[in-house]
Amino acid sequence: MRLRLPFILLFILVLFIAVIFYQSLFEEKNYIPKNINNKIENISIKEFNTNNNFFLKNLIEDKKLIAINIWASWCMPCRQEHEHIKKLSDIDNLKLVGLNYKDKIQNAENFLKEFGNPYDTILSDADGTKSIFLGAYGVPETLIIDRELKILKKYIGPINSQIVGEIKNLAN
């Protein structure tokens, strides 16, 4: 009896660890928080290169969804994903908003001249604090938001043609 109890405890412990390790094999490698508040406050953000300020709720107008794409001219993956961002501008029910992140105005303008400007509106996040209100981590990142300012989807990193398809389905 004396030997059996520690043995059972050890067995349970090993089993416990094995189950956790086994489950972790199938888990997403990147950390995505679960119980976060998906609703964004109706904050106002300055328009890129003007002194106008826009409230997020006013931006959506008559569209079903807003896609906010956080980008910067210094971000290499943003160049890669720009072709796919252009495809988003063809979606009817989607308002495509660019949020220029911690960038120099001249560099950002050169970027748009070189690669094209697919955005309906461009906003500016010069000190990076507006992105924190959106719960973003950095550039590039694309958020799909509905009329109630609820985040439906968050794509961390550059988007691809599969994601463009997903967003199309959401908007239609």
Partner: protein
């Protein structure tokens, strides 16, 4: 001459120590030391120079200036990024085992040691 050098050294030491204290001990530093930098795991927001961490520090400063309390700032960041952003996990259903297990092991271990000691004494 030797004592003069020692005094000079001590003065320098105290002087730089004070600079350190006044330079670092701000509220923003205090709060950012308790926050985990989410894109550079293993570093705190205070330690990191990543764009994300710098933005968080600016946000903390803005929030403090607009009158938010320390708790408001932690709650705000937790609502955006989840509990993972703070180093100290809060007590809830998800973290129950985390908080209880060490206490349980401590008591259980103490009990085992006490039993062993009592048995040993009896045998003697």
């Amino acid at each position: 001459m030797k004592s003069f050098k020692i005094i000079l050294f001590l003065l320098f030491f105290i002087f730089f120590n004070f600079i350190n204290v006044f330079g670092e001990n701000t509220k923003v530093d205090e709060i950012s030391k308790n926050l985990r930098c989410l894109i550079c795991q293993g570093q705190s927001v205070y330690d990191s120079q990543s764009e994300f961490a710098l933005s968080v520090k600016t946000l903390i400063l803005n929030k403090l200036e607009s009158g938010s309390s320390e708790k408001d700032i932690y709650d705000f960041l937790k609502s955006k990024y989840g509990n993972w952003i703070v180093y100290e996990p809060e007590f809830n259903n998800y973290t129950l085992i985390l908080w209880i297990l060490p206490l349980f092991l401590f008591i259980f271990g103490g009990f085992l040691i006490a039993r062993k000691v009592i048995i040993n004494r009896k045998e003697k």
